[in-house]
Structure formats: structure tokens, C-alpha cells
């Protein structure tokens, strides 16, 4: 019997190596896998590259992971937040590397990684500093730049529902980067609000099929709060 549901956070985090690229879902506090981030803090892997939309708030979660010196590099579209003190301090001190990526390019680079596309052309960023050093090409009269895929060694994802095969649904705007990162991660770890029996999720309504999911841990924390 396939059972991707693990009982402890330690089991969920087992095997994450130093130097890993970790994709972290969520947009603001919505759909953000906070329990998994805390699990990663506990697990101990360091020298990480983190890809996510923001660069952490306050001194908890991703900000805490950075504050502990465990993140060597962050790839994100919007390093500012309501309280970006940890990131900004580290960044100004030269203790963390930053790669700014337009939000759509970030999503598409991860989708490409999940779909076997190693590189693609896009119009986003043409003529801007994002295009510096990138291959340019005119196609059918418009100029594009080449962007590479962004695969993750690990993806941390929050879902609304999950079953033991790893099928997932998401709640409203909690979907955001989560399904894309699930595709792009070699080891995709999910925290879910609800565990469903196999077959209980309508096959037409599955958003992330279990093929993209490796481990599921049940974290029924309720509603997100604060950004």
C-alpha cells in the first residue's frame, strides 16, 4: 500500500542535505508551509538556496532560518515585506546572496523545471537590468531573453486536502506557488490541513496529482493570519 503520509516532522524532513535548493510555497501568509519551515529549522540542513516569493517577515519562519545563518542565497521576486529586518541586515552585511527574479519568470522557471523544459524565451525583463548577461533573440519581430529552469532539491508545500497517494487540493488563494513548486521539487514535502481517504477527492478536482508529491504531514493549524 502506498502511504505518503508520515507521522512525524522528523520523518517529513529526513534526508534534506546541506547545500540543497529549497522551494518554499505561499504568498504572504496564505498557503505558506510554516510548520515545514519550522521542521527544516529543526532538521539542521544549512548552506541552503531558498526560492520563494518573499524574503521572510519578522524573526520567525524563513526569517528565522536566515537569521540562523542557514540560507546562503535567496531567489525571490519581492524581498521586501512588512518586516524584512533579518533579510536586510544579512544582505547589507554581505552574508546572504540575492537573486531578484520577476514573479512570473520565477513561476515559469519552476514550472519549466517540473515539465522538462531546461530553458525558455520570455519578453519579461527585456530592456531592463534583469536582461543583462542573458541571451537575447528576436522571434517573429519581438525581442526575448532566455531564462533557465529552476529545479528544487526540496519543495515545501502547503495544501488544503491530501490523501495517502499525495493528491492535493488548495484553498482559494492558498494555491499560489504551491502546485508549481510541487512539480519542480525532487523531494516534495507537503503539510496539509485535512487528510482525506483515498478516492474522497473528486478525480476532476485534484489540483496536484500525487506523482508530484513524496511526503505528506498533517498540520491542521486553521486559518493563516498576519502577513
Amino acid at each position: 500500500m502506498i502511504n505518503k503520509i508520515v507521522q512525524t516532522m522528523a520523518d517529513a524532513m529526513a534526508g534534506i542535505k546541506d547545500g540543497s535548493t529549497v522551494l518554499i510555497g505561499g504568498f504572504g501568509a496564505v498557503g505558506q508551509p510554516n510548520a515545514l519551515i519550522d521542521g527544516l529549522i529543526e532538521q539542521g540542513a544549512t548552506n541552503l538556496t531558498v526560492a520563494c516569493n518573499n524574503a521572510g517577515v519578522g524573526h520567525v519562519g524563513l526569517a528565522r532560518l536566515m537569521e540562523l545563518g542557514r540560507v546562503a542565497r535567496i531567489i525571490c521576486s519581492f524581498p521586501r515585506s512588512s518586516d524584512p529586518v533579518v533579510f536586510e541586515t544579512l544582505y547589507r552585511a554581505g552574508k546572504i546572496a540575492l537573486e531578484i527574479v520577476p514573479q512570473g519568470t520565477l513561476a515559469e522557471r519552476m514550472r519549466a523545471a517540473g515539465a522538462g523544459v531546461p530553458a525558455f524565451f520570455t519578453a519579461t525583463g527585456v530592456g531592463t537590468k534583469m536582461a543583462v548577461g542573458k541571451e537575447h533573440r528576436e522571434i517573429d519581430g519581438r525581442t526575448y531573453i532566455l531564462e533557465k529552469s529552476l529545479p528544487g532539491d526540496v519543495a515545501l508545500v502547503e495544501a488544503w486536502e491530501a490523501d495517502r497517494w499525495g493528491n492535493l487540493t488548495f484553498k482559494e488563494a492558498g494555491r499560489n506557488f504551491n502546485p508549481v513548486m510541487a512539480m519542480a521539487g525532487t523531494l516534495t514535502i507537503v503539510q496539509t490541513q485535512h487528510v482525506r481517504a483515498l478516492g474522497e477527492i473528486n478525480p476532476d478536482h485534484v489540483v496536484t496529482p500525487g506523482i508530484f508529491v513524496d511526503r505528506v504531514v498533517h498540520v491542521p493549524y486553521g486559518d493563516p493570519s498576519g502577513f
Partner: protein, 221 residues
């Protein structure tokens, strides 16, 4: 800068600016409103004129902000404000949401800006090449991807520096993308000739507007 006519000048207020943009959006358009002033545009589109508002984080068909006791904690927009979803709205993931943007499916995007150049270049994400950690978000995707880009901003900075310029001095968001600019002083189309004035605030003369604008202005005729 010429200040001779300021006694009579009545700049458009923020609500007037937002309402003016709203008035120009026809029913049926798919529209993304940038963070900041542009977000207010939605308040001036009557619900019965069905305009479908998109947010980068996978929300299509946003309605007005919820009353405080009706907040849905899983329903936010790209500005991380609570919103509502209209009947007919839907959710999608980030790659699909940006496929809408980058694939040219949005009829309109309205962004704020630091500078707009007479060739339609826009600078709206960083005010210095040395900004240590500028935040671009979805601005470059929106500016390059939407069918139309309109900018909603003050005509000058607070100290009077023009924001409609020959060439942007700030880092660009996109090249040649802006089609129209709504400021507190005027509405201008971006054309092959450059900025063409199509409306001005009450009490403002073309010459006075030009005095507040670095780029050369043209009349519509």
C-alpha cells in the same frame, strides 16, 4: 518651473484620478491593478459594469474589499489585502496566473510609476541602480505582457521634479510599454509622436502643463 497659474489650478484628486481611469475601462475587460493608487480604481467601476479584475497570486474576478466581519482569511490580492471573489471568479496557481499575464490575455494593466518616458518606457520598481534589494514582484511581467499598460501617478514628485521624461533615469521595468498616463494634472496618450495631451486638470494651460513636464507635449489634433 512656471507657477503663474497655480491660483486657478485644481489638480485632480486621487479619487478623481482613480474614477477617471475607471470610466475608461469598458465592460468585459480583464484588468490587473497594481499595488498602491491603481488598486483604488476598482472602487469606481460599478459592479453592474462587469470588469474582471485579476491578481497575480491566482485570483480572477475579484470583488470589493470585504466588511471586517466577513473577511475570508484565504482570499488576498497581490498587495496582501483581503478581497472578495465575485460569482464567476476562480482560482489558479502562479504559473497559470502569469500565463494570463505573459500570454497577452489581460486587456489592461494599470501601474504606478516613478517615471514614464515619451517612448513608453516605464520605471516603477527601483529608484536607484544601487538599491540594495529592490522588489520587482510582478511588475515586469505585467508591463511586458498585458495588451495595454496605463500608468496612474502624480505628474511630478513632491519636490516638483517631472516624472514624464525624455529618458527614464531610474532602472526600467519595461521598454516602450506604456500606452496612456493618468496624472493629477492630465491624461496623456503615448504615441509615436510622444506624449499627446487628451485632458487637463481645471485651470491648467497647455503651457503650464509643459512647464511641469520634462518631455515635450503634443496636442491631440
Amino acid at each position: 518651473m512656471a507657477e503663474t497659474d497655480t491660483a486657478a489650478l485644481k489638480p485632480f484628486s486621487r479619487p478623481q484620478m482613480a474614477a477617471r481611469v475607471a470610466q475608461d475601462i469598458p465592460e468585459g475587460w480583464y484588468v490587473n491593478l497594481g499595488i498602491g493608487i491603481p488598486t483604488a480604481v476598482a472602487d469606481y467601476v460599478p459592479l453592474e459594469r462587469e470588469v474582471i479584475f485579476h491578481s497575480e497570486n491566482g485570483v480572477l474576478g475579484m470583488g470589493p474589499a470585504p466588511e471586517k466581519d466577513k473577511i475570508q482569511p484565504w482570499l488576498i490580492n497581490a498587495g496582501k489585502q483581503y478581497v472578495t471573489l465575485r460569482a464567476g471568479g476562480s482560482f489558479c496557481h502562479h504559473a497559470d496566473s502569469f500565463a494570463m499575464i505573459r500570454g497577452g490575455h489581460l486587456d489592461l494593466c494599470v501601474l504606478g510609476a516613478f517615471q514614464v518616458a515619451e517612448n513608453g518606457d516605464i520605471a516603477n520598481w527601483a529608484t536607484s541602480e544601487n538599491d540594495t534589494a529592490p522588489a520587482v514582484g510582478g511588475a515586469m511581467d505585467l508591463a511586458a505582457g498585458a495588451k495595454r499598460l496605463w500608468v496612474l501617478m502624480d505628474h511630478t514628485t513632491k519636490d516638483g521634479t517631472p516624472k514624464l521624461v525624455h529618458h527614464c533615469s531610474y532602472p526600467l521595468t519595461a521598454v516602450g510599454a506604456v500606452k496612456r498616463v493618468y496624472t493629477n494634472l492630465a491624461v496623456l496618450d503615448v504615441t509615436e509622436r510622444g506624449f499627446v495631451v487628451i485632458d487637463m486638470a481645471p485651470g491648467l494651460t497647455f503651457e503650464a502643463l509643459q512647464a511641469r513636464t520634462e518631455a515635450k507635449l503634443h496636442t491631440a489634433s
